[in-house]
Amino acid sequence: MKLDRFIIRAIVEFPNAILVFFVAFSIGAALLLPGLQRDPTPYLLPPSHESRVNLAKLRQNYTGANDSIIILLEAKKTVFNKRTLLRIKKMTAAFENIHLVTDKDREELLRLSRTAPVEVASKMHELAKGHIDSETWMRIDEIKEVLLSSPEGNQKILKALDTWMEKLSPVIKVTSLANTDNILGANGKLTVNPVFDEIPQTKEGLLQLEKQVQSNDLFKNILFSKGGKSTSIIIELGLGDDETQNRYLIYQQVKNIVENLVPGDEKEYIAGLPVVTGALGKVMEKDTQRLFPIVIFIVVASLFITFRQLKGVFVPLFVVLLSLIITLGLMVLFKIPLNIITTTLPVFILSIGVADGIHIFSEYRDNLASGYGRMESIEATLKHLTIPVIMTSLTTAVAFYAISMTRIIQLKHFGIFVSIGTIVAMLFSLFFIPALLVVLPEKNHKKTSNNRKEGSRFETAYADALVSMTKIFVNHPALTSFVAGIIFIVSIFGASKVLVDNNNAKYFLKDSTIYISTEKLNKDAAGSSVINLLIKTDSKEKEPFKNPENLKYVEELAAFVKTLPKVGKVLGLTELIKRINFVLNDEDPAFNRVPVHLDSGPGTKNLISQLLLLYENGGGDALSDFTDSDYRKLNIPVILQTNSSLDIYRLSHDVKEFAAKNFPDHLKVDLSGSASVSVAATDEIVSGQMISMIVSLGLVLIMLVFTFKRLSYATIAMVPLVMTISINFSIMGFFGIPLNIGTAIISSIVIGIGVDYSIHYLSRLKKNLDMGMDFSSALNNTVRRSGKAIVSNAFTVGLGFVALWFSILTPLIIMGWMITVTMLVSAVSTLALIPVLIIFVEKRANMKRKANEPRRLTLHPQQG
């Protein structure tokens, strides 16, 4: 082999140069690391994705369509008591004043105030030092006005003030009992008044208030739920999609207000999409910091168990750490930020990258132990391992690269950089480790061999066990194949039960505040996520959605949606019209509906227009939440008591089916909203990963054909992979683990790492056979050498992913478990299936050979 000779020559002649080169490269990369950016966007889809475009349009066309934080307050008996109402009032005011101004912003303003024109300097100073209240934004406007009227630029100050202005109003609207108008109708009189202005001081007053609120259907499950025991406060946020950090800051402030600034006896639950996404960004950041030392510990521990020697620990560890640094450095160089998925890069690169190092180092030590000198050992190691290391690393890299074939940018970056990391680790293992071994002193030779003896006793027993296990399979090829076939069929059955589902709220642990709060809102209030049903018509009529004919269909749809599972609240124009019609008719239940035909002609359409005019006239401002100004498009927000993309998908499906069955041709329903985006993202992930899996299987097969130059061997090498993947899916199917962003990439990982086992195993077996060994000694040798290495590797990689068990994010924990389990399944199916399949292939080949020329059965001594 040319390549290994080249490497050997390079290492022997310029070991120092190689070390310096690699170290210099790593130092260069390390210097870049402070420039590593974070992109904590919760959106998995790019802004150009159809569902995101639709969401942006929704927000452009309707008010009230931004993501909201929801606070559920639960009193012991009823929230309609003096103390709770006062608390709600104070909280509402405090929420309205939530801001994002930081100490840094204050310092900046203070600094600028020193050079500012006299007439604004003191005001700026006051602003920078002062308390932020509901009028701060106005004072900023005053300063801006003075600056704008003066001829000098002061651009810097104006810019800083604009930043302040932006940061002072992250809240679009707060909706609570304390600031909502109630429309009531009785005795021929319509009353439009705040729910309460002054808090009633008498029992009767409070009771009346409670009755008035509960009589309004529009408030149900929002301003009151559980018969008045709880109430919600909704904070609509005007944040950009990528402001995850700010979502988190706002969540912290809401928490602080609820728990510390306006405390009370009521239990509080804070949930909603901004809370989930904001906290997710933060938790992932924390998680990486937590997992990194754990994975290092695991790698160190498994290296120590394998080698029982400091050098054995530190050489491979050093190598993977440098590989990680270089990979991250490359990310900085290409201006790729760390995202919610690539934060797991350290775990992947350390666990996968260390494998090559282990192989090289253990082969080297085996050679040393069998009496070779240092240089010979290094040479023999490289001769043996260069090609397998390159092939296994390339197949791993290819499989991970296949993950990047998706529109999900986070996965794209993940796939690309894990494969880069794998290649870097390979280069380190092939050049850096041998060069280091040349340079490092090789002391304690005796002690090492003492250890070796002790170790080798264990290792021999372990190898013997593997051999006898293999024998069982090989001696019963038909039974083994039969059992494998049964397992495969059962697995396919299990795999067919796998559900595609992603649930952001369930990313958090079951005992986390966010999980508990979200579940509480889903149980006792309208819910915690929103999907929007968008209805449009291509009718030529003017203002078609004032026509009761059309509204009838909309009302029917709304009524149908209310009957669907997990629906907590349906809003929309028809609900509003119903309420107005109801109160206008002295709250006669017969009128709690969209008006039907009064007489022939435009009578009812006019009535609806007039009801809406009445509503606007009474100060109602929700129309723009539900309709465009031409009444050609409607938005029906549906609050859902779930965050599961599967539930949302089912609901979308039911809605579309209902519309297809019941709507006339000119009415169309579309679904939008953040909930819809999450369904689209899940679809994209799953279909993308299914494609990546197929592509990587295909690529790996090509590479295997190239490696073995025989289709039969390549096919055999694929069998354990397919088996492992189906077992992986069946575990998910049987245990109800959904297919989501975490579990979808496991298949590609199985392919990437699992194929290495097939390659190691088959290439040694083939080599042995090609050298003329008889089948059983060839197999024996393969099991003793490669089989052992495979099991060790499965343990090392599997153990590496044990680090993920310590994550505080459920999908990562599940992913950790699944990878650990599938690594072991992969090793076992390689050891069990490959020899059996080879027997079949070789039997046929032998039969052919026998027909032509009898095979020479030369017994070679086992290679030690």
Binding site: M138, S169, L607, G618
Partner: protein, 271 residues
């Protein structure tokens, strides 16, 4: 030392300014009072074109007939919708009392229901007919609840000399003013020659909005200074979120208007 010096200078400046005002022209409050009590006829009828423009620049247009009559310090008004056709003859009538303790009375007539409904609403800071104007913008604010100061005493606004007056709610009445108007602060440009409000800026507490008012097309009608076009633009963080234009035509002051105009029967009869 330097700081102290500046403060002294400012004090001197301020006090001299203050005393100077004592001798020259009216105080800010007097200017506002003159604006508030400006001759506006005992009765008024107009046709109003109301244009509502949303942030996507979509327009909605309504035609309204207004009739107003003063009863001493109290006022009665009635509005009929002329168009769009589907709200034609919808009528809104209100009796406004000068006595603040008395809640205003209003009625609404929906022709499709052929029914007059009484409406009670304490909320005057709410939108007037879905426009950017509030009821308090249309009916006027209670100037005694506010403190007024001059920002500048002579500013040219579209060729005319104006007083620029800042209004802040009186400290003890702040809550009340907020409830009635929604405003934290106002700045008004008042013409010196006829005490007309020609420009205004209003800071709205809810939602951190700023509204810009402009009166234009100003002329004498029946010898009374009248702005035939009023614009109100609502902005948030410097961006326009909604705007409204009121255009008045067929303006007539001091015609004889029968008291029977302001009855529910008249509402039912329509135009």
């Amino acid at each position: 030392m330097k700081k102290l010096f500046i403060i002294t200078i400012l004090c001197v400046f301020f006090t001299t300014g203050f005393t100077a005002r004592g001798f020259a022209g009216p105080t800010a409050f007097e200017v506002v009072r003159k604006m508030d009590t400006r001759e506006d006829g005992d009765t008024l009828t107009t046709d109003t074109l109301m244009i509502l423009i949303n942030k996507n620049k979509r327009k909605r247009i309504r035609n309204i007939k207004n009739i107003r009559k003063d009863y001493g310090p109290d006022t009665r008004g009635i509005i009929f919708f002329l168009s769009p056709a589907d709200v034609r003859n919808t009528a809104y009538m209100s009796y406004e009392w000068d006595d603040a303790s008395k809640e205003d009375d209003s009625w609404l007539y929906l022709p499709a229901l052929r029914k007059v409904k009484r409406i009670a609403s304490a909320d005057k800071s709410g939108s007037f007919m879905g426009s950017d104007f509030t009821y308090s913008d249309i009916n006027g604010i209670k100037i005694n609840d506010w403190d007024y100061t001059f920002i500048k005493e002579n500013v040219k606004e579209r060729g005319f000399d104006t007083f620029v007056v800042r209004g802040l709610p009186k400290k003890e009445l702040k809550e009340k003013v907020l409830k009635e108007t929604g405003y934290l602060k106002t700045v008004m440009w008042i013409r010196k020659d006829n005490y007309m409000l020609v420009k205004g800026k209003y800071w709205v507490k809810k939602g951190h909005k700023i509204k810009y008012f402009k009166a234009s097309d100003i002329k004498k009608v029946d010898d009374i200074w009248t702005a035939c076009k009023l614009t109100m633009v609502t902005t948030k963080k410097g961006k326009v979120t909604h705007s409204s234009v009121l255009k008045f035509s067929n303006i007539r002051y001091n015609t004889v208007i029968d008291d029977a105009t302001f009855t529910t029967r008249r509402m039912e009869r329509g135009l």
